[in-house]
Subunit: 523 residues, 2 copies
Amino acid sequence: MSDETAAATSHRRPSGRDAKRAARSARAAASVAYITRKIPEFEVLGTEGLEILEHNADTILEEIGVDVRDDPESLQLYRDGGADVQGERVRFPRGMCREIVQRSAPREFVQHARNPARNVLIGGKNTVFAPAYGSPFIRSLDEGRRYGTIEDFHNFVKLTYMANSLHHSGGTICEPVDLPVNKRHFDMVYSHIKHSDKPFMGSVTHPDRALDTIEMAKILFGPDYLDPATGRPKTIVISLINANSPLTWDATMLGALKHYARANQATIVTPFILSGAMSPVTIGGTVAQTLAEALSGMALAQLVNPGAPVVMGSFASSISMQSGAPSFGTPEPALVLYVMAALARRLGVPFRSGGGLCGSKIPDAQAAFESANTLLPTCLAGVNFVLHTAGWLEGGLAMGYEKFMMDVDQAGMMHTLLAGVDMSENGQALSAIREVGPGKHFLGCAHTQANFESAFYRSPLADNNSFEQWEAEGGKDMAQRANAQWKKQLAEYVAPPLDPAVDEALLDFMKRRKDSFPDSNVG
Amino acid sequence: MSDETAAATSHRRPSGRDAKRAARSARAAASVAYITRKIPEFEVLGTEGLEILEHNADTILEEIGVDVRDDPESLQLYRDGGADVQGERVRFPRGMCREIVQRSAPREFVQHARNPARNVLIGGKNTVFAPAYGSPFIRSLDEGRRYGTIEDFHNFVKLTYMANSLHHSGGTICEPVDLPVNKRHFDMVYSHIKHSDKPFMGSVTHPDRALDTIEMAKILFGPDYLDPATGRPKTIVISLINANSPLTWDATMLGALKHYARANQATIVTPFILSGAMSPVTIGGTVAQTLAEALSGMALAQLVNPGAPVVMGSFASSISMQSGAPSFGTPEPALVLYVMAALARRLGVPFRSGGGLCGSKIPDAQAAFESANTLLPTCLAGVNFVLHTAGWLEGGLAMGYEKFMMDVDQAGMMHTLLAGVDMSENGQALSAIREVGPGKHFLGCAHTQANFESAFYRSPLADNNSFEQWEAEGGKDMAQRANAQWKKQLAEYVAPPLDPAVDEALLDFMKRRKDSFPDSNVG
């Protein structure tokens, strides 16, 4: 046994009081509306490289252009903005999209929550964590894999509400497959409003559903919907607008984007790219294409309503060249992420990417390696809005209860990491070193006692006990501990208060709208 | 299902030929003697902060000093070098240790392997991966946890030899508890020499064992032991010298350090610190103390033999304030690591830290999260010598067969990450985007075909197949796949050729030395 392992043998059993104190401390530490980073962003390319990639994006927009499918209004908006429109192909004079975006898109903006203490500032040095989005399946240790339901959806909204390290309620946390496709957006938006007071995302699966979302936000905020300072609507909803990469937009996504932009609601304009399928297999090619696509989408939002909040998104992973399956947590997407974040800063818009992505079907070591290898770059790169922070499994096909709790823990750690180094006198701690001196230990010294509560991030899921104690407690793995934790959380859930009149108005609106057209599951 | 998950449903089954090609490609990609990074180092503190911490380290060395236990020779060396020695307490005039180190310690150096193609360049932009070190226990899925044996030791030397992402054979990969404590160093050094041709580490558990290690290196290299260019011995062995933090050195470690330094063999001078026990609970306090301790140890090596290769080491983690147990993969140690790496660059010596550290007892999600949260900072910070890259479990108390294979995979990924962004014309891939255009896919395009073999890092352990295929293949987790992999590797192991005369001379030396004193297990 080396010196480096000998120390690991000395443990003492925690008392119940210690555990309670730790829980209090962990809660206090993470209870912020969003993170404001105090460490620099990590960049992997210098200015020269970034300029080349920007030039390439402009080349793509100028020479190749983007296709806009089935959406004459958007084509006209682009034409009026100065683009060359031939049929459905839109080509942009070099620099046009960048100028439009830089002219009016805010560098950062507030997304309002119904509880103002939960408002998030998106952009700049800030990072906002939201849960995963879009899974049709659910996974838990108890039930394995099955289709998601509205009850699962409620559960995840509740768990997200209770997670101090998640700042945002997210959107389609899982697909409630038990509800009709053309009406489930009502129930999802209502669940976010009812079971949480954190900011949330809107529907994008049909332009009308964007309007429904906006209507529900208006009901929720009532007279506070308009910002008295600007006379414009407050930004209450943020929504995910995916491109059909390569270089294609469809009327569904652009229809939603335009509705949201007109209402001053935020959109995350995100090329969804699996390199090798939707973009070239190289980082440089993927980045230039992503930037071109995002620029064209963000420019449309600004053409519709200058000043409407937009976030530049990048969802980039790669495919297995063996099987064609998407892979996650590999080095190439991390490099794309670092470069895209730097490009967003140069452009001057908030950036969305990353999360706790993985390809693993279960919350095992693969899931954890891949998720950590995505979340850490996400945070070091300086991502402002992190969708898919918690719960993601199987390339997004499954939302995992245990994985969710693990990711919440990891997101908590990121709060401490991004807080950086405390260089105060207390942080420098020379007094402690003077007090203790050579050959003694710091466990009981005054400085340690004074900093005991806040000293280190405390994981509620990691087991750091001795082997013997861990074994005596059943030799559980992290997934088993997470299983107990999410059930305990759900049992302890208490809903945030909601004005009964608002609640009634929302339910009434939903009923009227739902009754006005027949159920459908075709889209 | 959102656009971001829909794509995950499209898979095709890999053919055997695809799999073989992928395996070839993965091997070729990682087959380098060491990594030379092409991305910047990440730093979390600016110059002002780093200067304060350097000032604090000097204050510690000047005001408090270090204790040197039972080692009059080292006390005399420090006194002759200009230190103030009172009893066993050594205080250093401000800047003394730094000046001594900067005067003669090499910024980088070659550690020679018996196969010159395996020589590693330690320092500068280079990163060298070595396996974990010092575990008394072994863990595998088949046997659970038990004490390690020399057969396990041989196994891990073989697996390390076969792992293209590990550049270095390491040292006490596990403790061969079945051999006498006072003689097992012979068998460990011999195993590294016999079963691998990668560079290795020497014994530090007694000064005489350092001499035995040096003697075996001399036998191995024969007339090539001396470097004809310098007339000095080649650096063939690197060894881990731990301080007894806080601020204490003992005669065992310093005895080994002096023997190695006199023979021009490299030492890694490493304060082993669990913050809260061996240092203050803060990052700033831990860093200043680590720097002070490392400076005093490296200075001794330079006083003994100016120019002897030294590496500044930092092993820093924290303890659970609930239980006193060490914890790993938390944010605070990562911050210490980033700062220490920056300080090593300012000092101008190679740096050792990090690895695949975790507190988990088993290769589960906890192990993976913690290991990734250590290895990624290790690589981004710019660590030059990475001990504990592979196999580490349970705070270093156990060496895991499955964990080892997982970590080897992760180390492989780091090769791709540190290679950065290819900004060649092929890397920019505008031709591919021009070829494919909007709405098509890149799977068959000329650029994809030309880059197919090297496109993405291919994990041999991640399962990216469809849920259905994964389930049909037994629904295995990563640990189960790793279990099959290490057994297959060991079955395929072929020893690198070793000159029979050298082999005989080594065995003869070991027999003579072992016969010259009785077995002992007391230390």
